[in-house]
C-alpha cells in the first residue's frame, strides 16, 4: 500500500475563482523521494498543505477528493494528529520558529504530543546529531545562517518521528552552501533513516540528484509523472512546463546536435562530467 495516496483531489481557495488543484491523483511509496516541480502558482504549495491536513482543516476553501496518509484520511484527521506521521518544512526559515533557543524549538513539537522529558532528551540528541546541529543546541535560531535555520526546522519536524517529510521549496531562500546542506540532509534522511520525502524544488539540478520519481504540476494539474531521466531528457516537455533544463543536459544536447554520439542525456553534474570524460577519451584527449 502506498504511504501517500492522493485520489482525484481538487481544491479552490475561498474567494478565488480558479481552482488551485484539479483532479490530482498520485501515489507515493514508502522510502521514495518524490519531487514536485512546476512554475509558480502551479499548486505545489497547495498540494503540500493538503498532504498534511492543513487543507481542509486550517485553510478555508472547497476541497474534493481523498488523501490518505498511511491509511489515515486527511478529512478525518487534523494536522495535529497527522503530525506524527507527516512533517512539513516551509520555505521561509524564520517564519517557522516559535521559541528562542534551538533546544526549546525542537522540544515544542515533542511537548505537543505528550512525550516524557526523558524521551524528549533522547530524541533531541538524535535529531541534533542527524542534522549536525549539536553545537547549536542553546543558541537562538534567529542568529543562525539560513541553512542552519532550515536544519533546525527539519530537526523540529523530525522530533515527532514522522515517516514522511514534506519540504516546500526549502532551499529557495538559502545561499548555495545552505542549499547543498539541505539537499544532503534530505538524501541522508531518506537513504539512512528510510524517511519518505516529498520535495518541492525549483532548482532542477539540485533536485535531479536525489529524487526517485517526480511529478510536474502546472495550473493545478499533473502534466507529467515519471522518473527524472524521462523528464530531464525531454527538453521540450520541460520548456513547456516552464522548468529550467539542467545545464549539463543542455550542454549534452548541444553536443548531440553537433554530431557527438550520446546515448543517454546526463541530468546531474556527476553524470555530465563522466560523459565529458568519456567523450574526451574517445577522441584521445586527456588521461581518462
Amino acid at each position: 500500500m502506498p504511504i501517500i495516496h492522493v485520489e482525484d483531489v481538487s481544491f479552490r481557495y475561498e474567494g478565488s475563482e480558479r481552482p488551485a488543484l484539479s483532479n490530482v491523483s498520485l501515489d507515493v511509496n514508502e522510502g521514495e523521494i518524490l519531487g514536485i516541480l512546476g512554475p509558480s502558482e502551479a499548486g505545489k504549495t497547495t498540494l503540500c498543505m493538503s498532504l498534511n491536513g492543513l487543507i481542509p482543516h486550517d485553510i478555508e476553501g472547497e476541497f474534493r477528493g481523498n488523501i490518505e496518509i498511511e491509511g489515515k484520511n486527511t478529512r478525518k484527521n487534523e494536522p495535529q494528529t497527522l503530525a506524527t506521521t507527516i512533517g512539513m518544512i516551509f520555505q521561509e526559515p524564520e517564519s517557522q520558529f516559535v521559541m528562542t533557543t534551538v533546544e526549546d524549538e525542537i522540544a515544542f513539537g515533542m511537548e505537543n504530543i505528550g512525550l516524557t522529558p526523558r524521551e524528549m532528551e533522547e530524541r533531541l540528541n538524535w535529531v541534533l546529531k542527524v542534522t549536525h546541529m549539536e553545537p547549536y543546541r542553546k543558541k537562538p535560531p534567529r542568529r543562525l545562517s539560513g541553512g542552519q535555520k532550515q536544519r533546525v526546522a527539519i530537526a523540529s519536524a523530525l522530533a515527532l518521528r514522522p515517516k514522511i517529510l514534506v519540504m516546500d521549496e526549502p532551499t529557495s531562500e538559502l545561499d548555495p552552501l545552505g542549499k547543498y546542506e539541505i539537499i544532503t540532509i534530505a538524501k541522508e534522511l531518506n537513504r539512512e533513516h528510510k524517511i519518505t520525502i516529498v520535495l518541492v524544488e525549483h532548482e532542477t539540478e539540485l533536485a535531479a540528484d536525489i529524487i526517485d520519481r517526480l511529478i510536474v504540476l502546472n495550473q493545478g494539474q499533473i502534466e507529467f509523472q515519471g522518473t527524472p531521466v524521462e523528464l530531464f531528457g525531454n527538453i521540450e516537455l520541460m520548456q513547456k512546463a516552464g522548468l529550467f533544463v539542467p545545464e549539463v543536459t543542455e550542454v549534452a544536447r548541444g553536443l548531440a546536435n553537433s554530431g557527438f554520439e550520446i546515448s543517454k542525456l546526463p541530468i546531474t553534474y556527476a553524470q555530465g562530467s563522466s560523459l565529458l570524460k568519456a567523450l574526451m577519451k574517445e577522441r584521445g584527449f586527456g588521461h581518462g
Binding site: 481557495y13 475561498e14 474567494g15 478565488s16 486550517d58 478555508e60
Partner: protein, 196 residues
C-alpha cells in the same frame, strides 16, 4: 452564533502575539522620543492598535494589552502596574474592535470615516487618557490635581493624533493587503472570513 460559540485557533494566537510584539516595539521606540508617559505629540501604538482592532477584532485588543506588558520595563512600570495600564487604558483599541462591523475597513466610506474619528480618535483616546490618569493616580505617579489639569491633555493629544494620522493611514493602505492574505476577521470573535 455569537459570544460563546467561538473557539480559538492557532492563527488567532499568532496574530495576537504579533500585534503584541509590534505594539511593544512601537512603545519602546516611542520612549526614546517621549520619555514621560503621555508627554509627546504622537503615540504610534494608539494608531497601530486601532488599525489592528479593525482588522482583527478582539485579537488586536489583546495585542495592545500584551504590548504594554512587554514594554513595561522601558516605561518604568513593574508587572502589576503594567497589567493595570495594559488592560484599562487601550480604550480606543477596544472601541475600534467593538464597532468594527459597522465600519468599512478602508474608511473610504464617509460615514465610516466619521464614525471612526468620532468613536475612536476622539472618544476612545479620551477614555484612554482618562483611564491612564486614574491608574497613574492610584499607583502614585501623578497627583490628582496634576493629572487632571496638566497630564491628561498631552496624553489625549498624542493618542488622538496617532489614531487619526497613523490609524487612518494604515487602514487606508493596508486593509486590501490584509484581506488579500486572508487575515481579515469577521466580527468581534468569530472565525475569520477571507472576503476578497
Amino acid at each position: 452564533m455569537g459570544f460563546f460559540s467561538f473557539s480559538i485557533k492557532t492563527r488567532d494566537i499568532v496574530i495576537a502575539a504579533l500585534c503584541g510584539a509590534v505594539n511593544a516595539v512601537l512603545q519602546i521606540i516611542s520612549t526614546f522620543f517621549t520619555p514621560i508617559p503621555g508627554l509627546s505629540v504622537l503615540y504610534p501604538p494608539s494608531g497601530f492598535g486601532a488599525a489592528t482592532a479593525v482588522w482583527f477584532g478582539v485579537w488586536g485588543w489583546i495585542g495592545a494589552i500584551l504590548g504594554t506588558l512587554f514594554a513595561a520595563p522601558y516605561w518604568g512600570y513593574s508587572l502589576p502596574v503594567a497589567l493595570m495600564f495594559g488592560i484599562l487604558t487601550p480604550m480606543e483599541v477596544l472601541i475600534a474592535a467593538l464597532i468594527r462591523r459597522k465600519l468599512d475597513p478602508t474608511l473610504k466610506n464617509k460615514r465610516s470615516l466619521v464614525l471612526f474619528v468620532g468613536a475612536v480618535v476622539v472618544l476612545g483616546t479620551f477614555l484612554d487618557a482618562l483611564m491612564g490618569m486614574f491608574v497613574s493616580i492610584y499607583v502614585g505617579y501623578y497627583t490628582p490635581t496634576l493629572a487632571f489639569t496638566v497630564a491628561i491633555w498631552p496624553w489625549w493629544l498624542a493618542d488622538a493624533v496617532a489614531a487619526f494620522v497613523i490609524g487612518i493611514f494604515l487602514l487606508r493602505t493596508l486593509t486590501p493587503y490584509v484581506k488579500k492574505i486572508g487575515l481579515y476577521y469577521d466580527g468581534f470573535f468569530a472565525r475569520k472570513l477571507a472576503e476578497k
